[in-house]
């Protein structure tokens, strides 16, 4: 079955069906790529993650809210989860003077804009085991950017995807689950190592509100950084995450984001409590990899992690892969890219070429979309973002039609 653009356009011009065409040269090339590198063995990946799962019929007709647009439709089901009796009355007491305004009828922009002007709450650090009904996050879309190894460009990609999606008219919140807390730097906020964002996600224990720590960025994307914590705080936070497998889900639902918003989660590499949290809420997982033998070797591991944490989720549409820093003038990079494409097939959202502009943009504190819009890196980012958006919202459309 051929999906090449030149074959399909040929048959479209002259009749006949391109379905019968066999891409023999391509197959031969893939074969010879594998044979060239004896250290690269064949990997088998599960096909489970490939198919988009069936959505629970929440039936909400969601219009993607333009970031600067007027209020969306009446709130979809994002009800305030009723805390069960053993929930934190003391935290509630602390928070009592705070009267929650009518969040649901306003856009994220105005919501979070209001937040930035309000007083910050006291953060209560008491870890509490809470069992609450699973929150419904059907009105927003969540992307988890994950990888097996570090240094592959997760934060860069997460920031880039957020920026592109924001320009496409979506309301975007970028959430940093990585203790490196690097995501905020990629979104145009000045890097000052002395002043890393003091407060962030890691401070949102007990009943502290996440929305307090969301910051606007020059690109228009809202970011919730990880925050500066010492080792004790970090370990406490991670223990809480392990105790409350749906912690992130609860937090996100409490944010009461506008319908059609997109949340982009940046995670640390490899298996971790953060990865588990992210995969428990994400609709799409974007797996970032480099085009080298080491990354190739870790594909099975990330595949296993995906299966473990998303197998029983109905609203996980699947994993999609991004191959970063591809340099097709180098034989190894070219071959590994080809091999990965061969194994992953349609699950590859795209590749990002090695482009100096991406690194320079960070150093200049700019989004690469502004820094070098005519560069290939920017184009690749946009193509990938469109691909991921299509995956995110395609199932929605088919559900609408049903």
């Amino acid at each position: 079955m051929s999906t090449s653009s030149d074959i399909s356009s040929l048959f479209k011009l002259f009749g006949g069906r391109s379905a019968h065409y066999q891409e023999i040269s391509q197959e031969d090339e893939k074969q010879s790529s594998m044979e060239r590198w004896p250290g690269v063995a064949k990997v088998e990946l599960s096909g489970v993650a490939a198919e988009p799962a069936v959505l629970t019929p929440s039936g909400a007709a969601v219009r993607p809210a333009l970031f600067a647009a007027v209020a969306p439709v009446s709130p979809a089901m994002a009800p305030e989860p009723a805390p069960s009796p053993e929930a934190v009355p003391q935290a509630k007491a602390v928070a009592a003077p705070y009267a929650a305004p009518d969040w649901a009828s306003e856009s994220l922009h105005s919501l979070l804009g209001k937040l930035a002007q309000e007083d910050r709450r006291e953060v209560v650090n008491a870890p509490v085991r809470v069992t609450r009904p699973r929150p419904n996050l059907a009105n927003i879309k969540i992307i988890a950017v994950i990888s097996a190894k570090g240094g592959v460009g997760k934060s860069t990609l997460a920031a880039g995807l957020s920026a592109v999606m924001q320009r496409q008219g979506r309301a975007v919140l970028a959430l940093d689950l990585d203790p490196q807390s690097a995501l905020i730097n990629h979104l145009g906020v000045a890097i000052d190592p002395m002043q890393v964002a003091a407060e962030g996600l890691a401070h949102c224990v007990a009943d502290a509100q996440m929305r307090d720590f969301c910051q606007p960025t020059p690109s228009g994307v809202f970011v919730l950084p990880y925050g500066m914590v010492d080792e004790g705080q970090r370990r406490t936070f991670e223990r809480q995450l392990e105790d409350e497998p749906d912690w992130l889900a609860q937090q996100l639902s409490e944010l009461q984001l506008a319908d059609g918003s997109v949340v982009v989660l940046d995670t640390p590499p490899g298996p971790s409590a953060y990865l588990q949290q992210a995969l428990s809420v994400a609709n799409v997982a974007v797996v970032v990899s480099l085009a080298d033998a080491a990354s190739y070797a870790t594909l099975p591991m990330i595949d296993r992690l995906l299966s473990t944490y998303t197998a029983d989720r109905a609203d996980f549409y699947g994993a999609t892969y991004v191959i970063n820093q591809v340099d097709q003038s180098r034989k190894l990079s070219k071959d590994i890219t080809q091999i990965m494409r061969g194994i992953l097939g349609g699950r590859v959202a795209g590749i990002i070429h090695r482009d100096q502009s991406i690194a320079e943009a960070l150093a200049y504190n700019q989004s690469v979309l502004d820094y070098d819009p005519s560069g290939q890196g920017c184009h690749d980012l946009q193509a990938i973002a469109l691909n991921v958006l299509a995956k995110l919202f395609a199932t929605q459309r088919s559900e609408q039609l049903a």
């Binding site: 040929l10 002259f14 019968h20 065409y21 391509q26 070219k334 070429h353 100096q356």
Partner: protein, 727 residues
């Protein structure tokens, strides 16, 4: 499959009990009745008014039908045109001859013979082109282990290695199981660098001890050295796409009697007409009528013939006819004729799957056509399709027309000079009142024009036929006559390709015949106008008719003169215009996402996005994409102006050259996209077109004459000045 066969098959599929099916006797009676009616229409004499009315009626009907332009409408127009033309010819032969003196007889019968030729070609042409088969590719079985083995032959004699390299790389890139595809270069030049190239790339290299029978002998020798079930043949410069075999081979597996499948010769560089008249891709070129329509029409009658390249031939039938024919210089058509005689089928797919270089100069172009004309005349004499067994009637007529086509030399010259007989010599070549001539001849001409325009509009503009014929008429006349007299005369001359024209110049030598014709017609025009003004005895209507005809001849011959003005060729390597995604990798690590304007083996033209500039002289890496595949090539910027860049590749390794071919020339759809996309014909528009070119021809001729005379005068004065003075 011929027409009867198709009807039979359809009837068999439907079952024979339908009340609408006509059985043989009814069919025969119907045909007789129709023929009788038509004959009556052709023969019945009418006076001037009746004839004019009849003509007007036919014309209006034709114009109405032209709007519909579907197959049935075309058939109806053909019938109308045939009736009008036969009516004219009947009247011509019965009422307008009868000359009293030898001068009239000479000119008169000469013209009638030319007209009879034109009528014959018109009728056969309708037969050939009114119902093109429009075959679609047939899918191959999904299991590629049952696909047959194919040998790809690339015969070469004196072409440079660069041209062969591209064809060889593209042949290797054809999507076919590696173990079933073998590529061979057949080198009649026995050159070492070719052998080394083939060895380093892993393709076969075949040489033979002599060069007998040129290309045919070369191919036949290679047949003895190879064993694939099928043979794909490409001329040295015809580059196949990667889908060539998968598009073409399906029919062979479907029809066991199929022996040959032909695909179009597509040219990505302009031929001399397009180059010198600047009509590339706006006016369909000369070959498009043949490859777009005529061969497709031949296919209906199972009379497609082999064109020497871009085709697949089955080995067993080919060996049965004794290999490629060596008796004539058009060995390709002759081979197909032999195959048809043995009962094998031939097929045509009107899908361009290979592209090559057009002839470089007018002289090269003419040389190639002379060879074809000579060869066709040889076949006519030695293996006449009307005689001998094995051919169906449709096949006989199609082959006959293919050969008759090349006899246009003399008739075309007659048409170009006929009115001068009256204007200059006052010969009465039409023994009939002028108005009657108009009443009969006009519908004949106009209906033929409109019908042909409707049938051929995509592939040939009106009046261009006359231009092409006028350019070649003088040159093919003699070889054809010679070959008709003695087929053994004449040798194979290889068409030169790949040369470069440094400076634009006017090809006086080639243009001489057209200039003579043009001059004669201009003189005739002047004489005629003078007579019209000052001679009271002359018949005004007759003069006017002849003057209009002369004016037409002037336009056509001036257009032929324009073709002889060779335009300067800027690049040695013709480029293919295509918009493909590309990327530039700069030395500082940054990249630019861009598109190509054009590509060639040597370099690529890039269109940059807004606001980006790259300086001339920079070394970059250019990436070309084909879906997920990417090839990176080192290049340097040799041209930079605004958003347009010209890049030349640095020395590419063989691997890189192969990859470049795969990403550019091998694309399945590059040629298909430009096929039949020129401006569709409108007769009046085409007339304006040709008139414009005619005027340009006259201007070019005047300027060239002026330049030449200035040069001569200067040369003369120089020799005068340089005479040493006496001390």
């Amino acid at each position: 499959m011929n027409l009867t066969g198709m009807f039979r098959a359809r009837r068999a599929a439907q079952g024979t009990t339908s009340p609408y099916v006509l059985d043989r006797p009814t069919c025969a009676v119907l045909v007789l009745v129709v023929v009788a009616l038509l004959a009556l229409m052709i023969i019945v004499p009418m006076d001037v008014e009746q004839q004019m009315l009849f003509s007007a009626g036919c014309m209006i009907a034709a114009l109405v039908l032209r709007r519909a332009a579907n197959r049935v409408a075309i058939l109806a127009m053909v019938v109308l045109s045939v009736v009008a033309s036969l009516r004219y010819m009947y009247w011509r032969l019965t009422s307008s001859l009868g000359f009293d003196n030898w001068l009239n007889m000479l000119f008169g019968y000469g013209l009638v013979l030319a007209e009879l030729y034109a009528l014959l070609v018109l009728l056969f042409g309708y037969l050939q082109t009114a119902w093109p088969l429009q075959r679609k590719p047939y899918p191959l079985p999904a299991d590629s282990s049952v696909w047959p083995t194919v040998d790809v032959f690339i015969p070469t004699y004196n072409e440079p290695l660069d041209i062969i390299k591209l064809t060889a790389f593209a042949a290797q890139a054809i999507d076919w199981p590696k173990d079933k595809l073998r590529v061979y270069v057949l080198d009649d030049g026995r050159r070492d660098e070719f052998r080394e190239f083939c060895e380093s790339v892993g393709i076969g290299y075949i040489i033979r001890p002599d060069n007998n029978h040129a290309k045919a002998g070369n191919l036949n020798f290679a047949l003895t050295q190879t064993s694939g079930e099928y043979i794909a043949i490409f001329d040295a410069d015809h580059v196949p796409t990667r889908s060539f075999l998968q598009v073409g081979m399906g029919w062979f597996l479907k029809d066991p009697k199929l022996a040959m499948l032909q695909t179009p010769h597509f040219f990505f560089s302009p031929d001399p007409f397009e180059k010198n008249l600047d009509t590339f891709r706006s006016v369909p070129n000369e070959g498009e009528l043949f490859y777009g329509l005529v061969q497709d029409g031949n296919d209906l009658w199972n009379a497609t013939f082999f064109c020497g390249s871009c085709a697949i031939i089955k080995r067993a039938p080919l060996e049965k006819v004794g290999g490629i024919a060596v008796e004539t210089v058009t060995e390709d058509a002759h081979t197909a004729l032999k195959l048809n005689r043995l009962g094998y089928n031939t097929a045509y797919l009107a899908i361009p799957q290979a592209a090559g270089l057009a002839t470089e100069s007018l002289s090269g172009h003419i040389g190639q056509r002379i060879r074809w004309a000579r060869g066709m005349a040889q076949i006519f004499r030695t293996d006449n399709p009307l005689l001998g067994k094995g051919l169906s009637l449709g096949q006989r007529f199609c082959y006959l027309n293919a050969m008759l086509h090349f006899f246009y030399g003399l008739p075309r010259l007659v048409f170009l000079t006929a009115p001068l007989a009256y204007l200059i010599f006052e010969a009465q070549i039409f023994q009939a009142p002028a108005l009657l001539i108009v009443a009969y001849a006009l519908p004949h001409i106009l209906l033929a024009s409109v019908t042909n325009s409707t049938i051929q509009g995509r592939f040939r503009h009106s009046f261009w036929n006359e231009v092409y014929e006028s350019v070649l008429a003088w040159y093919i006349m003699r070889p054809v006559l010679l070959a008709m007299v003695n087929p053994k005369l004449g040798k194979f001359n290889v068409t030169a390709k790949g040369g470069m024209i440094d400076e634009s110049y006017f090809d006086w030598k080639m243009a001489r015949p057209y200039i003579v014709v043009l001059a004669l017609n201009l003189i005739g025009m002047l004489v005629g106008v003078a007579k019209l003004g000052f001679d009271p005895d002359a018949s005004a209507v007759t003069l006017l008719i002849n003057l209009v005809w002369t004016l037409y001849n002037i336009i056509i011959s001036a257009a032929a003169v324009a073709v002889a003005s060779e335009a300067r060729q800027i690049r040695a390597e013709p480029r293919v215009f295509a918009t493909l995604p590309a990327m530039l990798g700069l030395a500082n690590g940054k990249t630019i996402a861009c598109q190509t304007n054009d590509f060639s083996q040597r370099g690529v033209g890039i269109h940059l996005p807004e606001g980006v500039q790259v300086a001339c002289g920079e070394e970059v890496h250019v990436s070309l994409f084909r879906d997920g595949e990417e090839g990176v090539f080192p290049a340097s910027v040799v041209f930079s102006h605004g958003q347009t860049l010209g890049l030349n590749f640095a020395n590419l390794t063989l691997q890189q050259q192969s990859e470049l071919a795969r990403l550019t020339f091998s694309r399945a759809d590059t040629w298909a996209k430009s096929w039949g996309t020129g401006v569709v014909d409108t007769p009046l528009g085409a007339l304006a077109e040709v008139t414009g070119i005619g005027w340009r021809g006259i201007c070019l001729l005047s300027r060239a004459t002026f330049d030449e005379s200035v040069r001569h005068v200067r040369a003369l004065s120089f020799t005068f000045k340089s005479t040493p003075r006496n001390p």
